[in-house]
């Protein structure tokens, strides 16, 4: 059945799937956000451990979603994978380093004889949540601001700057995008804590932190929105595939795809509601609104970049080297096979949700960390 679909439909479908995975990743960065709260939010070592353990139940899910995002892009849009990872070498490498550090930090932080000391592992976590997320944001920012590269006859990438991607951090829009994601992650982290731990004082502080971090994210959000609505964008002629600069392209995309406008607005309102409910109305389930809102905002962002005749990985040096979901994709055969594979995703989501429920049905307490049966293994 899937085999009968037109290749353009498959390409659009796979952009949607990649967008969903990417947006779920953004939601799950509450783990990274939580990691950046460990130096300021807790009033004692015990409270810090509560935060670390709350995040520690979920860090692998975030990590795995990132890995899946990479895998899905490789399989569906190999030219993007090759061009961006090979070209913007240093940005990706730095992002990866912070995730390498994160992966050992939970397990090793509290273990005796861990050589580097607990503090070092905490700094690793902080770096992952701050620098890692900032750079991911900057990298996503280049979907709109473009990069300096060109592709050769055989599609080999030549990068136009010796900084190999670090130059993205010099663009105000990219930086604003990155900082927005950092503060959004911190907001989500605080919301998650409120729902997940049973500790009055810490939870009260987390409620406040969610509001403060949301407020801090606003200037960056406004900068990003302003940029998006006013910047020129990279339009593709659907008939010829020729890429050209178009004033107000992303504004046109928003107006041309009203559903995306709805996603964006509902998403933002949902995040704000999550925070308001948590911080001002003392509700516990704000994270669900915050998380869902983040997914919707993510979907809107990726849709703006890839759909409606837009080049999602634009080249500033050679417009015609820009990547679109049509010229960067796998063959029809591979996209079809992968679509059948993707039918398994709901099943995966179902067991993830089931296990999440089993594990989160009771809130985490200090007692569980110190005297519970799993105490020796706690992070």
């Amino acid at each position: 059945m899937i085999g009968n679909l037109d290749i353009t439909v498959l390409q659009q479908l796979w952009w949607l799937i990649a967008s969903v995975v990417g947006s779920l990743f953004l939601m799950l960065t509450f783990v990274q956000g939580g990691q950046t709260l460990i130096f300021t939010l807790p009033a004692s070592e015990e409270e810090k451990s509560l935060i670390v353990n709350a995040m520690g139940r979920k860090w692998e899910l975030t990590f795995t979603t990132l890995v899946l995002f990479g895998g899905a892009l490789f399989a569906a849009f190999p030219l993007f994978y090759a061009t961006s990872f090979g070209g913007a070498y240093w940005v990706w490498m730095l992002i990866l380093f912070t995730f390498v550090l994160q992966a050992v930090s939970y397990e090793y932080r509290k273990k005796p004889n861990n050589v580097l000391g607990a503090r070092t592992y905490e700094i690793f976590m902080f770096l992952n949540g701050s620098v890692g997320i900032l750079l991911i944001g900057a990298a996503v920012g280049t979907f709109f601001t473009g990069s300096r590269f060109s592709l050769g006859t055989y599609n080999q990438v030549t990068w136009g700057t010796p900084y190999h991607g670090l130059e993205a951090a010099l663009n105000y829009f990219n930086v604003a995008f990155g900082l927005f994601l950092v503060f959004l992650a911190r907001t989500l982290g605080a919301l998650y804590l409120v729902n997940h731990v049973n500790h009055e004082a810490l939870v009260a502080r987390a409620r406040k932190a969610s509001l403060i971090n949301l407020a801090l994210s606003l200037p960056f959000l406004l900068t990003v929105l302003y940029g998006l609505l006013t910047m020129p964008g990279f339009a593709v002629d659907p008939a010829t595939g020729v890429v050209s600069l178009e004033q107000g392209k992303y504004l046109h995309n928003l107006l041309g795809m009203p559903i995306v406008l709805v996603l964006l607005l509902v998403g933002l309102v949902s995040v704000v509601w999550g925070v308001v409910a948590t911080a001002l109305l003392n509700k516990n389930r704000g994270i669900w609104f915050g998380g869902l809102g983040t997914v919707l905002v993510g979907l809107a962002v990726f849709s703006l970049a890839g759909y409606h005749g837009t080049a999602f990985y634009p080249s500033l040096t050679d417009l015609q080297s820009s990547l679109t979901i049509y010229n960067a994709s796998s063959s029809k055969f591979t996209l079809t096979v992968m679509s059948y594979v993707a039918l398994g995703v709901p099943f995966v989501l179902a067991y993830v949700a089931y296990v999440w429920r089993v594990m989160d049905s009771k809130q985490l307490t200090l007692a569980e960390l110190t005297t519970g049966e799993d105490a020796r293994k706690m992070y």
């Binding site: 899910l61 990479g70 273990k111 004889n113 063959s331």
Partner: protein
């Protein structure tokens, strides 16, 4: 410029080798120990005996410490294809990307999701659901091995694909043929069985240490029984499918087989070199002896390669310079043909761009005649098709030597366990402890055979490593190489520190 490209390629290779070898320190233990822990916990659930639970938790703690650093070193493996091998990623992403994505969807999520239950769910989940989760982690880790080995198997034996000259890439023709190719199947069976073996040695090594120290003796003895059974069974499997692997290599990667055995001149009744010292001065095409010292078993290589002790096995010289009597086309001839393919592909592209349909068709027709040798077109000298012989040879012999020795150890341990005399034979415990390290040596040696033995190819016969890498300054790659070296070494030291401490502490009181 040419020199800089070569430097980039070599630093990229060094970085890949470094990160892969580090990653492979941790993965085989994860693959095997996950199942051992699942066995232990199953016994606990079945018998309700709390001491089995304690034992399970002890090994689980070590599993967790190892797992974390396995994940840390693993993420780079996925993204490195893009960062350092971007031409490769584009040229084969259509085929290679799919297994990686499937791995993410079906394997990594199993591991990641159930891992939390396994570690923190003793009180939160029911006994049965906890056991189920432990099994899911074991199955998930081994499933992730399936897909990455499918991808690796395809690089060693590229099947079910076609070259698309317009896109300048290889495209998949049949997913099942890729997923079920004999090379992929053997990679998986040999990798998992040898990893179960390694994990068995790990459990026996630490248990042996406990016996030597007169600590936790009951736990040690129980662990050793289960581990020696699994070890014995997996030794048999590893030897069996290792032999199958070699049989397939003989047909699909004959150069690798010749390097594994240091065979320069093809012959009938080809011998296996049971032990040997390679002559370091030996080069393809010269008349020097290949070995300084050697102990051979006649006809064995022919038997291994063709299941017939009298058959002919080609040597390095036959494969480099050709052997018309045996109808072997050598690298020399293939390079000439490959150069035509490369040139015609370029002509085709140019003609297409200029709108010259007739010219494009003519170039394409000629390209198609030579396309099977496309990869050879990027080599300059036929000798470049030869992998490092000494390294491949020694690695292979170390692996097989150890693979013959381990089952003897497993047998002894099982025998003494059954007779209840394990404690009396302290020498056996000492050997078990030594084998803990030898298991890692064998396992790393295995990958050296597989990967060094297929140089210079990123994809056998189609894409040499030199063409596969990203065009980036060598200095950048050199820098990331050293960052990885320091980072991973630091983390390894921390891991060993923690591991040793946990072993000292032993199971919970």
């Amino acid at each position: 410029m040419g020199n800089d490209i070569l430097m980039t390629v070599n630093w990229s290779r060094a970085q890949f080798a470094l990160t892969a070898m580090y990653h492979w320190i941790f993965v085989p233990l994860t693959l095997g120990l996950s199942f051992l822990v699942a066995f232990f916990e199953s016994i606990y659930v079945k018998t309700g005996d709390e001491s089995w639970k304690k034992l399970t938790k002890f090994w689980m703690t070590l599993f967790g410490i190892n797992f974390a650093i396995g994940v840390a070193t693993g993420i780079i493996m996925e993204f490195q294809f893009g960062t350092n091998w971007s031409n490769y990623s584009w040229m084969v992403g259509d085929i290679f990307g799919a297994p990686l994505a499937v791995e993410g969807i079906f394997a990594f999520f199993l591991e990641a999701t159930f891992f939390a239950v396994m570690f923190f769910g003793w009180e939160r989940a029911s006994k049965r659901f906890h056991l189920f989760s432990t099994w899911m982690v074991a199955i998930g880790s081994n499933l992730s091995a399936v897909w990455i080995l499918v991808a690796n198997g395809w690089m060693q034996n590229p099947v079910a694909m076609a070259f698309n000259p317009d896109k300048a890439r290889f495209e998949m023709q049949n997913f099942f043929d890729v997923a079920l190719s004999p090379t992929a199947v053997q990679k998986f069976t040999h990798t998992t069985s040898s990893s179960f073996l390694l994990a068995s040695l790990f459990v026996m090594g630490i248990s042996g240490l406990f016996l030597l120290q007169n600590r936790h003796k009951e736990m040690a003895k129980r662990s050793m029984v289960v581990a020696s059974v699994l070890g014995l069974v997996s030794s048999g499997f590893a030897a069996f499918n290792g032999d199958e692997s070699a049989f397939h290599i003989a047909h699909r990667q004959p150069m690798k087989l010749a390097a594994m055995e240091g065979l320069y001149t093809g012959t009938e009744k080809a011998p296996i070199v049971a032990m040997g010292i390679i002559n370091p001065d030996k080069k393809p095409g010269d008349n020097l002896p290949a070995f300084k010292q050697e102990v051979i078993v006649p006809g064995m290589l022919s038997l291994l390669a063709n299941r017939d002790p009298n058959s002919f096995v080609p040597g390095i010289n036959d494969l480099v310079y050709g052997n018309p009597t045996r109808k072997i086309v050598g690298a020399q001839e293939r390079i000439a043909s490959g150069k035509i393919a490369v040139a015609e592909l370029a002509k085709y592209k140019e003609a297409k761009k200029a709108g010259d349909q007739a010219g494009a068709q003519a170039a394409l027709a000629l390209f198609n005649q030579h396309k099977d040798n496309l990869g050879y077109g990027y080599l300059n000298r036929p000798e470049e098709a030869v992998p490092p012989v000494a390294l491949t040879f020694y690695a292979f012999h170390i692996m097989v030597g150890l693979g013959t020795f381990f089952p003897i150890v497993f047998l002894c341990v099982l025998f003494c366990s059954v007779r209840g005399t394990l404690e009396n034979h302290r020498w056996l415990s000492a050997i078990c402890f030594a084998c803990l390290f030898l298991g890692y040596v064998a396992s790393q040696a295995g990958w050296v055979v597989a990967e060094v033995g297929r140089q210079p190819w990123a994809i056998e016969g189609l894409l040499p490593v030199g063409v596969a890498s990203t065009a980036i300054a060598a200095g950048s790659v050199k820098t990331t190489f050293f960052i990885f070296l320091f980072l991973f070494t630091g983390l390894l030291i921390a891991e060993i520190g923690i591991m040793v401490k946990q072993i000292k502490i032993g199971p919970e009181a």
